[in-house]
Structure formats: structure tokens, C-alpha cells
């Protein structure tokens, strides 16, 4: 079975979810492009969009239509060539519409898992629940005569566990997209000891067709991305809890969030990032990873507390941020949650005072938006952090410690053989988390 044939009958599990819908979109476009090749004329391509929720599936086509239209508009020059033999399609408008129709026509939304029995490739993007994943894989594989390949989007469960428990020897790998898959260029690729080389090769070709940057990760719970993020988040929480010994909790959260965003020049502060991913998801991923870690406890009682209080963060289906540790108004942080009062406290009521305690940013500070465009990363950040080290403010101290810890996490991912090398760790954080500089550096030594 060649590349095109492998992609003739595909199923996406959890297709209406945030990750699943993005994977569905990219796969639908790739399959449509294949189906339009002259040698594939007359062949049928099928993409099953399988999800538990009929409601969510009903909104899927609206999302796909909008996204495919945008993609088609960008490649109109190529599409005119693709449809050159269609005399009825004359204007860009006609051609783009036809392409959108051709992409959408491949997609079959359903709540019935049975349709996956005929697929030769299964993408899995259901919730981070190992047992659920195993159950779905087993059921499909028992009825599937194609010896289907399974690509799981898990960000935390070791692939070999899924492989063993579902009986998928050599036919499964981790193909971990970052959120949102349509935009984020990073994919973590995780193979097991037995993954067939043909499966891996196909995955690399598929990633290349989608123009993704592939970073291989060893098969260790959390892989590189969450391996860094979860520990980084725990450190941020720890810093906040320590600060909260001397000042109100909301101020501590505000300060650590500010330090991790502005002082460390990241796109978001750590509490905002936890909210973005979802407090529930972070807690869940830690729970999945924890049993696999030796001499390390990946757990936060603060996250448990927030979950008990029903404060979860995450995003609405519109992409708008839900309130979590922080309260948002059109993307801007306007409050911090006080678990004792079970209410948000306005940032305005304490921000100025906290900012004064933290102290000023180094004079060479460039905000993240500008800093990511700087080509000579070392040339900018080495003196920036050197300047920070010479400062006596609380903000500078917290930031240096935070940066050191992030550095240690990165290096440990390599020494623990989760990542193949330092460069892979940095690529994941630069590409998948949009950091302006890699965590493994010499700025904090």
C-alpha cells in the first residue's frame, strides 16, 4: 500500500474536539489534494469524522468550511492549475468553491465507531484517558481487516503501553500535534521499539506534506513538550505558593505570572498558559505522567483545589479564553482568583503595588513580540539576562531562578533520554510553545 492508498480510507477519533477537528482539517485537505491528482481520478477517498457528540459534529462543517476556504484562497494559483481541465470553473471564486466542496465531500461525520473498521489509517484525538484509547483501538482492530495503522495524538501516555494493551505491535506511533494543529508547525513523533519503519516513514512523509516541523521524542510519558511544561508549571506554582507566605495569594499569582511572561520574555505567563491549556487538562496530564516517573512527584494540590472549586480555565468553542487562575476580558488579564473568597479580585486593585515590589525590567528589555523577530538570539538575550543578574530586585531574582529551573528541566529531558539532544528540546519550546529562546542556554549559569 503506497502513500496515496494509505490515505484513501482514514478515520479520525474525537474529530469534533479541539485537536481532532484540526487534524481532520489538515488530513481532509491532504486527501483532497491526492484525490485531485490525475492518477487518482475515479478513486474514492473517505475520511470518517468520528465523535461521541452529535452536537459537536454538527458544528464541524462550519469550521471546516471556513478554514478550507482560507487555505484555498492562499493557494489559488496552484488550484487554477489543478482544475485546468474543468471548463465550467472559470473565476477564482468558482475554483475555490469547488475545492472547498471537494474537501468537504470526503468528510463523513458520524457517532458510529464501526465506520473505522474499513480504514487503513486511524488518527486518535480523544481525551487523555489511556483506558478509553485502548478500548477504542481494540474494538476497531478486532474488526478491521486492513491491519490499520494507528496515529495517536496523546501528549502524555507512553505509546508502548497503548501498543501492548491494544495489541497493535509495530502499527502504532505517537503523532503529537500542538494546539491548534492547523496553525502550530510542531509535531512530536514518537515510535516504540517495535514500530515498523514503513509506518514511521509514512508519518514523516505525511508531516512533510503538511509542512510540519517534526521533532522525534523518545517514548517517555509526557514526551518533550509536556515533559517541560508540566515541570515548569509546578515550579511556577511553587514560586507563587512561597510568595503567598508573605503576601496575599492573588498578588503572588499575579507576580509569578508577570515574571514568567515579561521578565522571561515569553508569550504568556505560566498561569495564563495553564488556563489556556485548561487546569483540568494539566491536572490530568500530570496524573497520567506521574506513575511513570521515578523519584519525582508530578502533582499539585493547588490544581486539585482549583478543580474542586470548579475553576477550570480552557477555552470556549469560539476560541475565547475561559476564566481560570486569571480572569480575562477579550484576552487581557483583569483579575486573579482567590480560592478563599471564591471570587476574582481586580488586578487594578493591587497591580501597581506588586509591580513596584518586583522592580523594573532590564533596560535592554524587548517585549516578546519584538524579541521573537530578533535573529541573533544570543546577541540579545545573553546581555539581557546578564543585566538582569546584576539587578537586586525581587522580579529579577524570581526570573533568574525561574530561567535556571527551566534550563535544568531541559537538560534533564536529554539526560533522562526523553529527548535525543538539546536541540530537539529547544525546537519544541521554540516552535510548539513560541518561546523566543530555547530553555537550554547559558544565560542563567
Amino acid at each position: 500500500m503506497n502513500y496515496d492508498q494509505r490515505l484513501q480510507h482514514v478515520s479520525v477519533l474525537g474529530a469534533a474536539g479541539k485537536m481532532g477537528s484540526g487534524i481532520l482539517l489538515l488530513t481532509a485537505v491532504e486527501m483532497a489534494d491526492l484525490s485531485l491528482k490525475p492518477e487518482n481520478k475515479g478513486k474514492t477517498f473517505v475520511l470518517n469524522a468520528i465523535d461521541l457528540s452529535n452536537e459537536a459534529l454538527s458544528g464541524l462543517f462550519g469550521y471546516l468550511h471556513t478554514q478550507v476556504t482560507k487555505m484555498a484562497e492562499k493557494k489559488a494559483v496552484m488550484l487554477r492549475q489543478l482544475y485546468a481541465d474543468r471548463d465550467d470553473l472559470i473565476e477564482n471564486y468558482d475554483i475555490i468553491n469547488q475545492y472547498v466542496n471537494d474537501v468537504l465531500a470526503l468528510v463523513r461525520p458520524t457517532t458510529a465507531l464501526e465506520v473505522a473498521y474499513k480504514s487503513s489509517l486511524i488518527f486518535e484525538a480523544v481525551s487523555e484517558n489511556k483506558d478509553l484509547k485502548v478500548k477504542l483501538f481494540r474494538q476497531i482492530d478486532q474488526h478491521n481487516e486492513n491491519k490499520s495503522w494507528y496515529f495517536t495524538n496523546t501528549s502524555s501516555v507512553p505509546i508502548h503501553i497503548l501498543e501492548d494493551e491494544a495489541g497493535l505491535k509495530s502499527r502504532i506511533l505517537g503523532f503529537h500535534f500542538y494546539n491548534p494543529p492547523a496553525v502550530q508547525r510542531l509535531v512530536e513523533l514518537i515510535v516504540t521499539d517495535t514500530t515498523d519503519n514503513e509506518v514511521k516513514q509514512f508519518a514523516l512523509n505525511y508531516a512533510k506534506a503538511l509542512r510540519k516541523v517534526v521533532v522525534p521524542s523518545n517514548d517517555f510519558a509526557g514526551f518533550i513538550g509536556n515533559g517541560h511544561f508540566m515541570r515548569d508549571a509546578l515550579y511556577g506554582i511553587k514560586q507563587a505558593e512561597e510568595l503567598a507566605g508573605e503576601r496575599p495569594f492573588v498578588e503572588a499569582v499575579y507576580m509569578v505570572n508577570k515574571v514568567s511572561q515579561e521578565f522571561l520574555v515569553r508569550p504568556m505567563g505560566i498561569f495564563q498558559l495553564i488556563d489556556y491549556v485548561g487546569i483540568d487538562v494539566v491536572q490530568f496530564i500530570m496524573n497520567v505522567m506521574n506513575p511513570f516517573l521515578k523519584d519525582e512527584e508530578l502533582h499539585s494540590s493547588l490544581l486539585d483545589k482549583m478543580m474542586k472549586l470548579g475553576v477550570k480555565g480552557g477555552q470556549l468553542s469560539s476560541g475565547a479564553q475561559k476564566d481560570g487562575f486569571l480572569k480575562y476580558d477579550r484576552g487581557a488579564v483583569i483579575g486573579v482568583y482567590d480560592p478563599d473568597k471564591q471570587a476574582y479580585v481586580d488586578v487594578d486593585s493591587f497591580a501597581a503595588q506588586c509591580d513596584e515590589v518586583l522592580g523594573a525590567l532590564p533596560a535592554s528589555y524587548q517585549p516578546w513580540k519584538a524579541a521573537v523577530r530578533i535573529k541573533d538570539t544570543d546577541g540579545h538575550f545573553a546581555p539581557y539576562f546578564a543585566e538582569m543578574k546584576g539587578m537586586d530586585s525581587l522580579g529579577a531574582k524570581l526570573a533568574i531562578n525561574y530561567g535556571k529551573n527551566s534550563n535544568d528541566i531541559g537538560r534533564k529531558l536529554v539526560s533522562d533520554q526523553v529527548a535525543h539532544n538539546e536541540n530537539d528540546v529547544n525546537t519544541v519550546m521554540l516552535t510548539g510553545f513560541f518561546h523566543a529562546y530555547g530553555p537550554i542556554n547559558n544565560y542563567f549559569a
Binding site: E73, A76, V77, M78, R80, A84, D87, E91, N92
Partner: protein, 414 residues
């Protein structure tokens, strides 16, 4: 026509802002003023200077594709929206692709010459930012022969002029041509920075030349031989001017020194069904300019400034050759040496032209007349150039389609 039976003037010009990318206030995601707003602003801007709508006998509105950009045809009906006193007077819409503005002027000139009117309100308008560029390309492709659309480029007109540029590169040298085209672009932006209504008025990029050469044409994303800086802008805007007789000037109480005289004109079309006879020559422009200057009894050496239809930088280079300012193949050099810059031998497009001021397609011909009226009467503000006493003429070249409809007009200080 060799001689005009009656003197024809233009006065009281007005331009709206050319709105679109480049203007700080432009936000494609926010609702913006539409067609009616622009027609009214330009019309009322002219009437204010003309002393009121009661002085106007007739209105002409030039527009290319409002029927598709704005789902609105029948623009002649908007005269009454400019001013109630224009209602129940003659008013009509004219169309000749991007030469529609020029046709609006010509229609006014003909009315004056036919003595059916003494003052004609001539307007040009286009509001194009209603659709994304990729669909705008479909709409603008209507200026070409529809039978060729299927096998044309996604960006149809950039594709047409990219092909012309490709032949020019092959014939005269790639680097040589790009150098001239780059200078054309730089001149356009530098001139636009002097006119507050220009779309590139806010442009502060320090190294325009560096920027231009960095952007290598990429046929996969756009067209083979042009980058986006070689192209005119996608614009919303309108311009207006009064075309009038001596009696009309008196009626409006406007002195001749505040008007320009139309001393020669030509309006020609090439067969739209055929390919251009020569890809590196703008044959219709060449013919029309020659006839207009013959009618005016002047040669190109007597012209003090030119407004030409630089929908693409290559069209600017080819116009230089078509007007006889440089021999075939020498246009790029002529421009690269600075001859067409505002302090050069022949200042061209002194408020930015289509690349710098903007290209609200149906308005462009009228905008050119307004610029020449401003320059020849000393009303161009910061963009004012010196018009030598021995060269008191201006020439405008407005083109529709790929050198299909051309309007050439020679103006003289009033």
C-alpha cells in the same frame, strides 16, 4: 477632430482619501464607508468650490465594477444624492474598465463641445475593499476578454503585465529592467508621502530600494515577474472635477488662472478580443498620446508634467517609451536615472500615481485630472512641483484593461 469649436476648462477638483492598506485608519475587519459616501464626498467637495449645485448642468459618474464590488449599478442615479439640485438634471454613468474616470472627463468635454452643457460635474469612483484580493482579481479581470479568463492567471491583470515584464526582461535584461521598475516604485512612494489623501501617505519605510529588491517575484504565490510593490493599490476612493466652458467659469465666478484649459484629447480603443500587437509596447497609449498632443499642437518637450496609468511599474516604464520620452528598451534607464522623479526632466505621477496615491479603478482618470489641475494652478500643497514657464502643459494617460481603452488629455494653465 483637429480643433475644438469652443474652449473647454477644468476646475474645482477634489479627491477623497484613497483608502486601503497603507492608511493607518484602514481596518479591513471593520465596517467602512461605501460607494454612496465616496460619491457624495467627492461631489460635494467639488460643488463647494464651484459655488453650488445650481451652477451645474449635468453629472457624469465614471465607475468600473460597482455592480460586483458593491452590488450596485446605475450610478447616474446618485447625482441627486450629492445634492438635491442635481436631481431632474442629466446624469449618467460611464464604464471603460480602469479608464472609466477618463471616460467621465471625455463625456463632460463632449457635452461642453456639443453645447448641451456649460458645466459638467465629472466624478470617478470605486470601492474595492469589499472583497479579498483573490476575488477582487476576478472582478477586475472583467477588463479583459472573458474568453481568456479560464487560462489566465489567478491574479489576472498582474499576470498580463507580468507577461509583458517577462518579455521586456528577456529583450533588454532582467537586472536592467528591475532597476528602472524599482526607481518607479520609490518615486511613487516618495511623491505619495507629500499628499495627505494618498494611500501611501503614512509610509515611513526608510529603505524603499532595499525593500523592493528583497522581494523577489514568486510565481507560486503571486506572478512570475512582478512583486506586490510593482503593483498599484487596492483602493476605495473618489475624485471629482468640473468640466466647463468660458461661460461656465463666469457662472461659477472662477478665474481662468484657477482653471486648466483642455487643449487636446483623444479616446481610443484597441480590439479587446486580440492580444496586444507588441508585448513591450503600449500601442494604444502611444497612438492616443500622439493624437492628443497633435490636437493641442504641442510636442512632448513642451509638456511640464505627466500623469500616467502605472497600474504596474512596468506600465510606467512602457508609458515612458510610448510617449516618446525614451526609445524602445530605454525607458527603464530613463526612469532609473531619475528623469521621471519630481525634480527630474519630466516629473511623472507627482502625487504618487496608482502605486503611491492609490488606484480606486473607476476614479483614477479623474484623480489624474485633479492632480494636473493642482500642479498647473499651484494648488498641489507639499506635492507642488515647479512647472517651467516654457512648458505650461500637463498630459494625462488613463488606461482601461491591457491597453484597450485609453484616454489622453493635454491641459494648459488657464
Amino acid at each position: 477632430m483637429k480643433n475644438m469649436r469652443r474652449k473647454v476648462y477644468m476646475t474645482a477638483g477634489y479627491n477623497t482619501i484613497s483608502m486601503g492598506t497603507g492608511r493607518k485608519e484602514f481596518n479591513p475587519k471593520k465596517e467602512r464607508p461605501g460607494l454612496e459616501y465616496y460619491i457624495k464626498e467627492a461631489g460635494q467637495g467639488v460643488l463647494k468650490q464651484a459655488g453650488g449645485a445650481d451652477k451645474v448642468d449635468e453629472s457624469v459618474i465614471g465607475n468600473f465594477m460597482s455592480a460586483r464590488f458593491n452590488k450596485q449599478a446605475h450610478l447616474g442615479g446618485f447625482a441627486g444624492a450629492i445634492d438635491p439640485q442635481l436631481e431632474f438634471k442629466p446624469s449618467l454613468g460611464v464604464e471603460g474598465a480602469c479608464g472609466s474616470g477618463g471616460l467621465s472627463l471625455i463625456t463632460g468635454i463632449r457635452s461642453i463641445l456639443a453645447e448641451t452643457a456649460d458645466t459638467v460635474l465629472s466624478i470617478g469612483v470605486e470601492v474595492q475593499n469589499t472583497v479579498k484580493a483573490i476575488y477582487g482579481a476576478d472582478i477586475l479581470a472583467g477588463a479583459g476578454y472573458y474568453d481568456k479568463r479560464k487560462h489566465g492567471h489567478a491574479y489576472f491583470f498582474p499576470g498580463q503585465f507580468s507577461d509583458r515584464a517577462g518579455v521586456y526582461y528577456e529583450k533588454y535584461g532582467h537586472e536592467y529592467a528591475r532597476k528602472g521598475m524599482c526607481r518607479w516604485f520609490v518615486n511613487a512612494i516618495e511623491n505619495a508621502r507629500l499628499d495627505p489623501t494618498a494611500q501611501e501617505y503614512h509610509n515611513t519605510i526608510p529603505d524603499l530600494e532595499g525593500l523592493y529588491h528583497k522581494m523577489t517575484p514568486n510565481g507560486k504565490a503571486f506572478v512570475d515577474h512582478l512583486n506586490v510593490l510593482d503593483c498599484s493599490k487596492v483602493s476605495d476612493g473618489a475624485s471629482g472635477i468640473v468640466v466647463t466652458s468660458e461661460e461656465g467659469l463666469q457662472r461659477m465666478d472662477i478665474d481662468k488662472k484657477d482653471a486648466v484649459e483642455v487643449v487636446g484629447w483623444a479616446q481610443l480603443t484597441r480590439n479587446i478580443v486580440n492580444e496586444p500587437p507588441n508585448p513591450v509596447e503600449l500601442t494604444t497609449i502611444k497612438t492616443a498620446a500622439k493624437r492628443a498632443m497633435e490636437m493641442a499642437g504641442v510636442t512632448i518637450d513642451q509638456i511640464g508634467t505627466v500623469e500616467t496609468h502605472d497600474c504596474f511599474s512596468i506600465a510606467g516604464i512602457l508609458a515612458v517609451e510610448a510617449l516618446g520620452l525614451a526609445a524602445p528598451g530605454k525607458g527603464a534607464e530613463y526612469v532609473a536615472e531619475g528623469n521621471t522623479s519630481r525634480n527630474g526632466k519630466m516629473p511623472m505621477n507627482t502625487t504618487g500615481g496608482l502605486i503611491g496615491w492609490g488606484h480606486p479603478t473607476g476614479a483614477t482618470g479623474v484623480h489624474q485630472a485633479v492632480t494636473l489641475w493642482q500642479q498647473l494652478t499651484g494648488k498641489a500643497g507639499d506635492a507642488q512641483i515647479n512647472i517651467p514657464a516654457d512648458r505650461p502643459y500637463g498630459l494625462s494617460i488613463n488606461m482601461g484593461g491591457d491597453d484597450v481603452t485609453v484616454v489622453a488629455i493635454v491641459y494648459k494653465r488657464g
